[in-house]
Amino acid sequence: MNTASYIFGIVAAALTLVTVIELLRRRRLRERHIVWWLIFGLLVLVIAVFPSVLVWLAALVGIAIPINLVFFVSIIALFLVSLQQSAEATRLENKTRVLAEDVALLELRVRRLEERLERERSE
């Protein structure tokens, strides 16, 4: 690894982390959605600064080529995050469904009240 790629790694990791924190700061993301992105962003930054950590971790779990550990962990991370988003979409769908039912029920109630009012007025 030369100096250029070392700096590139650190800059990329730092940029990712800054983006995540900035979105959180502007309330564009809720903290429970961002926890995983923060954890993985920090992890990437640590590895970018101390590449030896990656080599040590890979050896620890018996992976011969350290970069494969990066790919493996990245895929797992993306899988978990997309799973979390599917769950979130389901939750939101259920909420909108209840709201849609409520709107329809209220609309019918208002309509019947208006009709009754009209009848009473005309009597």
Binding site: A100, E101, V103, A104, L105, E107, L108, R112
Partner: protein, 245 residues
């Protein structure tokens, strides 16, 4: 409130049914005078809601399409909020004969959920191929679960009594096939008494049923998946004290 149907609500989920709807509403009013009809307009783009109102039905207009399950849940919630004891689901396309309704309601005296079954000897409705196999498997599993013989588990013609209405107002599933398969699983596991009554099915007054074998095979797979998932879900219990929605 002097008719025998004062505490019964007919719920018709309707999606773009402006053509068939007037005839079936009129037929219901003719054969069952005084019964309340609630049309749940499930996000139609035609004049379904307006047509139903013109015929004197109550109309719940959903702002977007929720599927039959979502439409029925809204219907059950309406029934519960307005003091109806029984809910009878009738298709808006006219394939169910309102004249069979008294038989369903009579059976409801001793049951919580009564299905109008299409294959129990009456009428001429037949299916073949994967769709048939799906129905056989579903009938087998659900019959065992409900401890009674159910031959037509995907029938949309069904009557729910007080306990089932309370259960379904909270837990009616909105997923694909949830309105037929999963709702039966939920009811059976919650301890509802389920029965079936043979009914004749009529040709749809508008639209045609699908007999594409490829679509039928997909149906078989989705039905199996829906059944499996519904069996994996935690059981729902009916609480006897009324909890406000």
């Amino acid at each position: 409130m002097s008719t025998p149907y004062a505490d019964t609500l007919i719920v018709m989920p309707a999606l773009n049914e402006e053509e068939a709807l007037p005839a079936i509403i009129r037929e219901v009013q003719e054969k069952l005078p005084g019964i309340a009809v609630l049309v749940v307009d499930d996000g139609s783009v035609d004049r379904t809601a307006a047509v139903a109102r013109r015929e004197g039905a109550l109309v719940l207009q959903l702002p977007f399409n929720l599927g039959v399950g979502g439409a029925m849940r809204a219907g059950f919630r309406f029934a519960l909020a307005n003091g109806f004891r029984n809910v009878v689901q009738v298709d808006a396309d006219g394939q169910h004969d309102p004249a069979d309704l008294p038989a369903l309601l009579a059976e409801l005296e001793t049951a919580d959920l009564v299905l109008g079954a299409r294959f129990a000897g009456v009428g001429t409705y037949r299916v073949r191929g994967p769709r048939h196999w799906a129905m056989v498997v579903l009938s087998g599993v659900l019959s065992r679960l409900a401890k009674t013989t159910l031959t037509d588990t995907t029938s949309g013609f069904r009557a729910s009594g007080r306990r089932a209405v309370e259960l379904f107002a909270r837990h009616y599933p909105a997923e694909y096939l949830g309105d037929t398969v999963e709702s039966l699983v939920i009811a059976a596991r919650a301890g509802c008494v389920i029965r079936q009554v043979p009914v004749a099915m009529r040709q749809r007054t508008a639209g045609t049923p699908s007999h594409n074998p490829f679509k039928s095979a997909i149906y078989l797979g989705r039905a199996g998946l829906a059944l499996t998932i519904s069996l994996l879900r935690p059981r729902v219990v009916i609480s006897d004290e009324a909890v406000p929605l």
